[in-house]
């Protein structure tokens, strides 16, 4: 290959790496101090770009100089920093104590709100920003032209790294950030004003996100899809580098930038999957990223975020359960076709959510990629029915859980070796790889178009009959999973979650047991996916998307992680609010995001958790 080309291609990769680092450094610092995985970091990046295309042209109208351009970029970044402060004071400050997953959910609510606000303020059309004066041209490098602006960007990343290092080493604020990253409890013990530290950290993180966004305006138009397209990549960078490690983020950015630049020469279609493949490989080899540290295990007994005591159903609960089942069975008789349709959907989602909570609630295995098993089940069913085998629905519904279980066996083998946020990120990586495979393997999966014609067998083709098929299978699967939670298998899973050391010391093979649980949950999700596919008549990659995984998490969180039956309520509730807001307005995501935040703030234990708490309080008052 031409050496000049290699140099220029490397420079392109490094310029991208530089931008990626600026954004990811903010994410990793915020995580290090607050332990919040901030989904809204991408939204802050997007706001940086939008504020950039708003502020910079005004300044350039005054004076068309590079000074004005960069003054505008800095102003935009500062403004985003202040938005970060606002977010900390109004929202994050109230949720440091709530379970980690809820924090994540709350920041996802912010993502939805910002998406619609941006659309409302700036409109849905992409807005191209101005180019930087004096940096519009290309520079000749070994006979090839390379954009001057990217040459400039090449230096910004390292400059940010140097400044951050100085900040961390030389200032009190920086020392506190480092201390908090290493041991959060220690900072509290030192009597540091935690609120100020956290607010300052959020300012810094948001500033960096805003800076990253504003610096992009000469290259990419401000658009409403920027947030989610950057956030996954920023997550990947922070995870590969080691969460909380700024130098790690720098190294990871370089690797990703160069890999992208040269990877597309060899595998032009690898673009979708490359970064996630890299993340999966790194996590399998180095479970805490390149420069991260194992998460310090708490030196005291902390109650896990999940199912706690298991009370068997009392008479009241039995009655409620029976009533629910009866009401369910009456849906096709009493309701219209649409109600039946919604009923089928909720049942399938309820099973998927229940299987997810089997992992999260009982096993402490937080999966961000549960849609993979749901989707694989759906695809297995769909492809068997439509593909060359032309299997009937009955066979496909047997294959769906098998496929989900097999995929879970494969991915789970690696997943259960990790813990905490790294485990969650590996599940996400596997889900994204699955997504990319189904998205790109068009000859078999139909690519993003998916496959149509996935309808039930003739005897079950009537909506009501299919409803009963789904009800029977979903309820049976849920009852079975519930039984497992109450059986020694489930107790052992909880034991491994509560204390892996203790479990190991009483002869429990923790890893294998978690792996088996992963397979069980994957199989149940696969069945749910199969049932869902036949209700829609088609399958497509959105069934495996991050959005679907997040939906499942929303269901179990809004229902209540600590409760066995919460996910079922959550599935119904979540579906209901979406169903309510969607036909109402184009800006339904705003209201959905708002509802999520309200739930997190008002019911940190979920809806069923709140009911339980209320009942306990009542019982106390009666007793007292």
């Amino acid at each position: 290959m031409d050496p000049a080309f290699i140099v220029v291609q490397a420079l392109s990769g490094l310029a991208n790496a530089s931008s990626l680092f600026i954004i990811s450094s903010g994410l990793t610092i915020v995580f290090g101090v607050t332990r919040i995985v901030n989904f809204a970091h991408g939204s802050l990046y997007m706001l940086g770009a939008y504020l950039g295309i708003t502020i910079v042209p005004r300044l350039l109208d005054i004076d068309r100089t590079p000074t004005m351009f960069f003054a505008g970029v800095l102003l935009a970044a500062l403004a985003v920093g202040l938005i970060g402060v606002l977010m900390e004071v109004l929202l994050l400050r109230r949720i440091y104590k709530v379970p980690e997953l809820f924090q994540l959910l709350a920041t996802f609510g912010v993502v939805l709100i910002v998406q619609d606000l941006v659309q409302k303020i700036w409109g849905p059309v992409d807005i191209a920003g101005p180019r930087a004066p004096s940096l519009r041209h290309g520079i000749q490098i070994m006979g090839q032209r390379f954009p001057a602006y990217e040459m400039f960007l090449l230096f910004v990343g390292p400059a940010v790294l140097v400044l951050l290092t100085l900040l961390m080493q030389k200032t009190r604020f920086g020392v506190l950030i480092r201390a908090a990253t290493q041991d959060r409890e220690m900072v509290g013990a030192l009597g540091v004003n935690q609120a100020m530290l956290f607010t300052g950290t959020l300012f810094l993180g948001a500033f960096l996100a805003g800076l990253g966004g504003a610096l992009q305006i000469p290259r990419v138009p401000a658009n409403g899809h920027m947030d989610l397209s950057i956030i996954t990549e920023a997550f990947v960078v922070t995870v590969i580098g080691g969460m909380g490690s700024v130098p790690g983020a720098f190294v990871a950015s370089l690797i990703i930038g160069l890999l992208q630049a040269f990877g597309i020469l060899i595998f032009p279609k690898i673009t979708l999957v490359l970064v996630f493949l890299l993340m999966a490989v790194v996590l399998v080899v180095k479970p805490w990223g390149l420069m991260g540290r194992p998460e310090a295990t708490a030196n005291r007994a902390v109650l896990p975020e999940g199912i706690l005591s298991l009370k068997p159903f009392g008479t009241g609960e039995r009655l409620v359960a029976a009533l629910v089942v009866v009401a369910l069975l009456a849906v096709p008789l009493m309701g219209d076709a649409y109600k039946t349709k919604v009923g089928i959907e909720i049942l399938a989602f309820a099973l998927a959510a229940f299987s997810l909570n089997f992992l999260v609630g009982a096993g402490g295995i937080v999966s961000f990629g549960h849609a993979a098993y749901f989707g694989i089940g759906a695809y297995a069913a769909g492809l068997l029915v439509v593909g060359p085998l032309k299997l009937p629905m009955e066979g496909a519904l047997v294959a769906a859980p098998l496929a989900g279980g097999l995929a879970a066996a494969l991915f789970g083998y690696f997943v259960v070796r990790l813990s905490g946020i790294y485990l969650a990120m590996l599940t996400l990586a596997f889900a994204q790889i699955t997504y990319a495979v189904f998205f790109q393997w068009a000859e078999v999966t139909g690519g993003d178009n998916g496959v149509v014609g996935v309808w039930p067998s003739a005897w079950a083709s009537s909506r009501s009959v299919y409803f009963y098929v789904v009800a029977l299978l979903a309820v049976a699967a849920i009852v079975f999973l519930r039984r497992i939670i109450y059986a020694p298998f489930g107790y052992t899973l909880r034991a491994a979650r509560d204390s892996a050391n203790r479990a190991d010391a009483i002869g429990i093979d923790v890893r294998t047991h978690r792996w088996l649980s992963f397979i069980v949950a994957g199989a149940a999700a696969g069945l749910a996916g199969g049932l869902y596919a036949f209700s829609k008549g088609s399958i497509d990659p959105t069934l495996i998307s991050i959005g679907m995984s997040v939906d499942f998490l929303m269901m179990i969180l809004s229902g209540g992680l600590q409760t066995v039956m919460g996910p079922l309520v959550g599935a119904g509730f979540f579906h209901a609010i979406k169903d309510f807001f969607m036909p109402l307005t184009d800006f339904w995501r705003f209201f959905l995001g708002l509802s999520i935040i309200v739930i997190v703030l008002a019911f940190p234990r979920g809806l069923v958790g709140a009911v339980d708490a209320g009942r306990e309080a009542l019982a106390h008052r009666r007793a007292g």
Binding site: A301, A487, P488
Partner: protein, 259 residues
Amino acid sequence: MLLSVQGLQKRFGGLVAAKDVSFDLAAGELLAIIGPNGAGKSTTFNMVGGQLRPDTGRVMLAGEDVTGLPPRLVWRKGVGRTFQIAQTFVSMSVVENVQMALISFHERTRDLTADATSLYRTEALAILDGVGLTEMADRSVSELAYGDVKRVELAVALASEPKLLLMDEPTAGMAPRERAQLMELTASIARARKIGVLFTEHDMDAVFGHADRIVVLVRGEIIARGTPEEVRADQRVKQVYLGETGVQAALKARRAAQA
């Protein structure tokens, strides 16, 4: 001999954490490993329990080589253990913690249908009775005082009818009165059931009050061993570890125990 440790060695990078550590432990005997911080007590302990694999050396349990086996398999051979910071299943009740150990002991962890809340409950209650926790059986572990949590751990460790108990600083973090109670309880159970107990401890009352024999580790090496009296009298031990006040305390503890 119940436990025979022969020439254990462990390095972490350039640091020698344990060097030619050998000792024996008989059934029904209480053996304490003492030494300053970083002396290699926990390293030695974890090599016996299976949490660490030694570089060289052997661990023999009742004549069987268990070197390098993972903890769960060491447990299967009849070794129960407690941790420096109590490790229990905090989402479960006291009796469920013990039931969990029994479920594992009877190899039913993968049972998908039985009702775990009633499984082995009677046996578990009997074990709790042995450590004086009957009244707290149905309370959640997360609500208990720390001393009681330690006793839960002991009950869990006893559930598998072990031949050997490994206790890493059993009284750490407890009030003085609770410490004595726990050590007395341990000693009486061990002697009654012929269980060997290997424990590390910082608390001199616990060591000199209850151990039959003591091994002193400093910088990974055994510098002295013998009965409490012998160790107390050892000049090197006095020099590098106990100091004068420590010896006085040890003496007091011994007297109190004999009285």
